[in-house]
Symmetry: C2
Subunit: 364 residues, 2 copies
């Protein structure tokens, strides 16, 4: 069930990853260019189904961390995440059999592919967020007992940092964020090194394939003059992300965004085309909450996705702007991401929101 | 020429280290309590003359880093610098034969003694600053070619960080400061691991003994009703710190101090007892510059020391306050610290001061 990812997949993959990134995860266009270059130089990438990973194999996930507003201006060379992985291997005294995304969304669906191509390592079709989240402790890996530590950070000048906070993944995030800020607001990391058995137990499976499906469905709908949102709803119904609900259609009327403490935080508003209804969005790198006329319509960990109203092209939080015509959809997350332990780590309360989590399919 | 440091030495050592700390280096009282406890629990400490260290031996210096204003409130347990040393040893795959101070001043004359007592390791009688400086690249070790990296940081909750910036010690300082801020403003470190041969070539020798001499001289002068400042000048004349000059006597009239970017920065003013003259002091953790009536009287790397006017008890920058009666002295530094390479690293320009370095003995 392993498959080969080539340059032809990248456009669909980037679009799908941007949808699943719920506005964050870093600019997928930049990631796409990095993977394209890596494939051209090193050849296509083997994608491993999680069921195919040996229980004893060492899997070392790789990623970018930082504020999307910064990633937009400060592009990596592609060597930084390789440096992070090599640094962690050296620290552990063990070579990785594969790499894997830590989040499925935006550039972080792409970074492990860059590493895979450059090093000839397979990439596991799974991740630790099932979407994009802004902080490193917000991983199903950690929720189900895999420590993030030790983690390695690679900088653009060849600097390396290895952080070990034992089982305290929040503390790891706190220190790594400090280093990332000092590296200029973006860094590349290797963390949550784990066995194949742990991948099978704790990862959200097949989210690279899912991103590809999402991106391809939207493209094919456009090519065949079908409604991309309805087509997407149909395609998702066959996956672990079963329910898509349209939350709002309208025009962006206000965006307030600031880069603080290493994150892009802010809120946006939109007004329905008939001027009768108002949408409010809240984000920290990713969209966290959608309110329509003051009523909750979708909230973390369920996906709040802002799409361009005609083409369903995803819009990231750092490119949201006044006047955009949008359709906002909510997408339900797999059961693995809705357990009490999971909600304690990345549910509404983890972001300081006072709303109780309710599945999007019950809200709409 | 090795000697044994016991509890009886600590009062003199702490006082002397505070003088050489030129206002910084962290609270020596806290350090003294930590060493006393370590000696009571683990026995006295072997102090090695640098000439006695084997050329091939691995020496791993240990220290505290952070803003003195924070150290004052956030006390270490003593385990943190041990954790830093052990983490660096593990990273290097080699055990240390000895530890050593990185600076001679304040708490950083004491931290290696805590490590030495707890681990039964000898402490080399030398350091890498010949005084206290606020930043990690400001070391004679680095000036003469020993890289600070890899360095290890130990936190109070058992967190560890290993930073490697190759030969770029400024970059190491920048990243380590970011981690220190995230650890609450104070951290414990092991850095500039080097061979015995490198100690002999790059360290400022016998500065632990020097601190002891300074502290003892001041105490004995008091006990014998002699002027402590004159006695100190006489004692220093026999050392590498040959010249002591009295810069100013008067009362502190103003102190402006802020903790920013992980440092205690500020300025202080004093007025002479006759009201005719004005002293201005500038500091970043340590005193950097003394002006009298607008004229430079002493500047980095030479030592600007603020002492209580009768007892010659040193006053650190974080305890300077309105109304204190002080005598301010300048002390010349060894030649090793006044070479062009040394001045480029920790001379006036390294602190953004536009004054050219002139030895204190030529200024007064």
């Amino acid at each position: 069930m392993s498959w080969t990812l080539t340059e032809e997949h990248l456009e669909d993959l980037a679009r799908g990853a941007a949808v699943l990134g719920t506005g964050g995860g870093g600019d997928p266009y930049v990631g796409r260019l990095l993977v394209r270059q890596a494939i051209r130089e090193h050849g296509p990438i083997t994608i491993l189904d999680p069921s195919e990973v040996g229980d004893e194999d060492l899997v070392v996930p790789t990623a970018q961390m930082g504020a999307p507003t910064v990633v937009h201006e400060k592009l990596p060379s592609g060597e930084e995440p390789v440096l992070a992985l090599r640094t962690l291997e050296k620290h552990l005294g063990q070579r990785a059999s594969a790499t894997m995304p830590i989040e499925c969304g935006g550039i972080n669906s792409m970074i492990p592919l860059v590493v895979g191509a450059r090093l000839g390592l397979p990439v596991v079709d799974a991740d630790g967020m099932g979407r994009a989240f802004p902080e490193l402790q917000m991983e199903t890996f950690g929720v189900y007992g895999v420590p993030g530590s030790p983690m390695a950070i690679g900088g653009e000048r060849g600097e390396t940092t290895v952080i070990d906070t034992g089982s305290d993944n929040r503390r790891m995030e706190w220190l790594a964020r400090g280093v990332t800020i000092r590296l200029g607001g973006v860094a590349h990391i290797a963390e949550y090194a784990m066995s194949g058995a742990e991948v099978k137990r704790t990862a959200v499976p097949r989210t690279l394939s899912l991103a590809l499906t999402v991106g391809r469905t939207i493209r094919e709908a456009r090519e065949n003059n079908l409604d991309p949102v309805s087509e997407l709803a149909g395609a998702l119904h066959e996956t672990l992300y079963q329910n898509l609900r349209v939350i709002f259609r309208g025009k962006v009327s206000d965006v307030e965004r600031r880069t603080e403490a290493g994150f892009a935080r802010g809120r946006a508003q939109a007004v329905s085309f008939d001027g009768e209804h108002k949408l409010e969005l809240l984000f920290q790198n990713e969209n966290l909450l959608a309110l329509v006329d003051g009523e909750v319509r979708c909230l973390v960990p369920d996906l709040v996705c802002v799409l361009e109203s005609e083409s369903a092209e995803p819009i990231t939080t750092e490119t949201l702007r006044y006047g955009q015509r949008v359709v906002v959809v909510g997408i339900s997350t797999p059961d693995l991401m809705r357990t009490p332990e999971a909600l304690a780590t990345f549910g509404p309360a983890a972001f300081g929101l006072s709303y109780e989590f309710t599945p999007v399919e019950e809200l709409l």
